[in-house]
Amino acid sequence: MSEFALLTLLIGALSLIAIGIGGLVLSRNLFRIVLALSLAEAGANLLLVLVGFRRDAIAPIIEQGHALTATMVDPIPQAMVLTAIVIGVGVQALALSLAIRAYVAYGTLDMNVMRSRMETDISDAAGAQPATSQHAPAGGRPLPPISAPRLAHNKGAQG
């Protein structure tokens, strides 16, 4: 495989990662986010395979015709990719199922809307005011000096 082809593959893999991450960051739709994620993972996997590639080598399978000493590509990245793919599948399935449930609960797939709904839910569950409130935190901040009752008209009592 020529240098050019290898570089093309590398650029392809990196582009997949870039597109995936870019999509992940920019999408607000939950399903698009998951799709972007799988795109980026595909890029990473491709990268991994590419790293194990060896010029002028065959697949690491010993066949009857070949000598045992034939040049083979690195088998370890291939095994790693196999694992990585399966991991990706598991995570995506989980993400999708969460998306489904969230959609059922909130009736939207827009991340921003969901996030604000979630914030409200958290605050409600905690019985606290929403985070935007300007009130002092519960329990009060460090106290102002406690002045005796009739000290009010004598300002700045604590020196």
Binding site: A131, P142, I146, R150, G156, G159
Partner: protein, 619 residues
């Protein structure tokens, strides 16, 4: 088991006992006996008292040893605890429990404070010291926090200060370890003064800030008055008498023993314009003046006394910073003297509170006929606090003035005197608004405080008087403390000091003073007609009969003219500082919370990855 082990185990035992049956009637008796035993043990043991147990932990030896300096403070601690304990053991405690508070916890907090302080005072190395320091802080917190909602809130205000101080000390501790390789106090006293100026200045800053917070030196004093004033009665007395002095103890060790005052005086700032020692002296002097005049403004007796407690700390530090025999003796003696009359005063105020239910200086008055013993205690106490003869407060302050005069520090001297004069004004307000003037109708049938309360109060003021007449009694302990610390030792006599440049002999002074009073009495009672006693409620003003239900007691805004002139000079700039720090923290907290509410954390991750990678690749 040697003496210190016994002392500490007694203390621990008491803590355990307080937890187990602190609410019973037996406990105060037991604690009284144990405290007395501890006092006897302390006074009777040979110095230095070394603990039999020691630990090695993370390569550091941790041990305990009590020298003359520590013993001096330990004696005061246990004495104050004993008085508080007796006070707590009687009617006051019953009322406290009846109000729904836990006497068990109060006793436990007191015992815990004593144990923590003993551990601190007898520490042999900085680790043991820090352990004692933190235990003291948190035991103090426990004592402050009891006695209701306001006490709790005031105690919570103490937390950032205490922690800030502790962290400054811890920072100093690890830097010390890193720079000198040791934490043993004895070893450090040899090596610490050989550090470079920069390192020493940083250590001094860290430790001094930590210790000043405990002591309530400016500008770290704001927590102290509410925290001490709002605590449960005997707790206030104990805290006021000795708790803040742990900061002085630590500063004494740091400045005199470890760094040596001459080395501290070497640390010059701004082209030698002033040295670290000057700075400390001035902080002490300002601590005398500002809190004292803040006390003058207070309308709650407890707050008034607590603010004075802050101010009086300044005299002690100033004396020690002067570093000569007279000044340091004065500073150290003031610890004891102050403890005696402050505890008495606080107990007296709480006795009044016990009977009347308030410490508001605008709702009392005329109680002198109702509670004469408490009045006597307060009278002697305020004379001590104001530093007038014949009480012991005069002696220690006199020693400090004397030192400032001899050392030629006119402005510092002026500050101390201003503080004393402010104290006189403020304590007169205290006694006038409480005991003099018009008796309120609702207080007409009030009785004297019970014996369980008057006895410890009287014992304390008698002690303050006796050591005022014969300061040599207390000065023997002080001389021992000075020797242990490596200060020049004061040559004292029973009556004070003997010096060609001006001696002080309290035996003679008090003798003459009372002779003068005697002659005065002779002049007054010996001549002229007999005077007729007018009833307390039989008063006229401007020719108009004042019936008891008309409130004419002049209490509010007592020094109006003075305040008009000096009020603007101290208009809560430290309060402003405190709230500025709190607001800044709040702002930082809001910013950080905003960080954790960002909409697309993945974007942050991406940006971070790119920046980090770029940094790693092209650095």
């Amino acid at each position: 088991m040697n003496a210190l082990d016994l002392l500490l185990s007694l203390s621990a035992l008491m803590l355990l006992a307080a937890f187990l049956f602190g609410q019973t009637r037996v406990y105060p008796w037991l604690a009284g006996i144990l405290f007395t035993g501890q006092l006897v043990l302390l006074a009777g043991s040979d110095l230095p008292m070394a603990a039999g147990v020691g630990l090695e932990i993370f390569g550091q030896q941790v041990g305990w040893q009590l020298d003359g300096f520590g013993r001096y403070f330990a004696l005061i601690t246990i004495g104050a605890a004993l008085a508080s304990n007796v006070y707590m053991g009687g009617e006051w405690g019953e009322r406290y429990q009846a109000d729904g508070h836990s006497l068990r916890w109060l006793h436990a907090a007191l015992a815990g404070n004593v144990l923590a302080m003993l551990l601190l005072l007898s520490s042999k190395d900085l680790i043991a010291f820090f352990i004692g320091w933190e235990l003291t802080s948190w035991a103090g917190f426990l004592l402050m926090a009891q006695g209701g909602e306001r006490a709790l809130r005031a105690a919570l205000r103490y937390v950032p200060y205490a922690m800030g101080g502790a962290m400054a000390v811890l920072g100093g501790l690890v830097l010390t370890l890193s720079w000198t390789g040791t934490l043993d106090l004895l070893e450090l006293s040899r090596v610490m003064s050989t550090l470079g100026n920069g390192q020493l200045a940083l250590l001094l800053a860290l430790f001094a800030i930590g210790f000043s917070i405990k002591m309530g030196l400016l500008p770290f004093h704001l927590w102290q008055a509410p925290a001490y004033a709002e605590a449960a009665g005997p707790g206030t007395a104990f805290l006021g008498a000795i708790s803040a002095r742990m900061g002085l103890f630590a500063l004494g060790i740091l400045l005199v023993k470890l760094m040596t005052l001459s080395r501290v005086a070497d640390l010059a700032f701004i082209d030698g314009l002033f040295t670290a020692r000057d700075l400390l002296a001035w902080v002490a002097a300002l601590t005398i003046v500002l809190p004292t005049f803040t006390a003058l403004k207070q309308n709650d007796a407890r707050y008034l006394l607590a603010w004075h407690g802050i101010g009086q700390g300044g005299y002690m530090l100033l004396g020690i910073v002067m570093g000569d025999a007279t000044g340091s003796a004065g500073g150290l003696l003031h610890v004891f003297n102050y403890a005696t009359y402050q505890a008495a005063l606080v107990l007296a105020v709480f006795a009044v509170m016990h009977r009347t239910g308030t410490a508001d200086l605008n709702s009392l008055g005329g109680l002198v006929t109702r509670m004469p013993l408490t009045f006597l205690v307060m009278l002697l106490g305020i004379i001590g606090l104001a530093g007038l003869p014949p009480m012991n407060g005069f002696v220690s302050k006199w020693l400090v003035y004397r030192s400032l005069m001899v050392e030629g520090r006119p402005l510092l001297f002026l500050m101390t005197v201003i503080g004393t004069l402010g104290t006189i004004l403020s304590v007169y307000k205290l006694i006038h608004n409480t005991f003099l003037g018009q008796l309120r109708a609702e207080h007409e049938h009030i009785r004297e405080a019970p014996w369980s309360m008057t006895v410890p109060m009287l014992a304390l003021v008698i002690l303050a008087f006796v050591t005022g007449v014969a300061p040599g009694l207390a000065l023997s302990w002080v001389a021992e403390a000075q020797a242990a610390l490596g200060l020049p030792v004061l040559a004292y006599t029973l009556g004070g000091i003997e010096s060609p440049r001006g001696s002080l002999d309290m035996l003679w002074i008090v003798g003459v003073l009372f002779a003068g009073f005697g002659i005065g009495a002779l002049l007054f009672y010996g001549a002229g007609g007999r005077s007729k006693r007018v009833h307390q409620l039989d008063n006229y003003a401007g020719g108009h009969f004042l019936s008891a239900d008309v409130r004419y007691h002049y209490s509010d805004h007592f020094y109006a003219g003075l305040m008009h002139r000096i009020g603007p000079l101290y208009r809560g700039s430290f309060t402003w500082l405190e709230s500025a720090v709190a607001s800044a923290t709040d702002l930082a907290a809001s910013l950080m919370q905003a960080w954790y509410r960002q909409a697309v954390p993945a974007l942050t991750l991406l940006v971070a990855a790119v920046l980090g990678l770029g940094w790693m690749v092209w650095r």
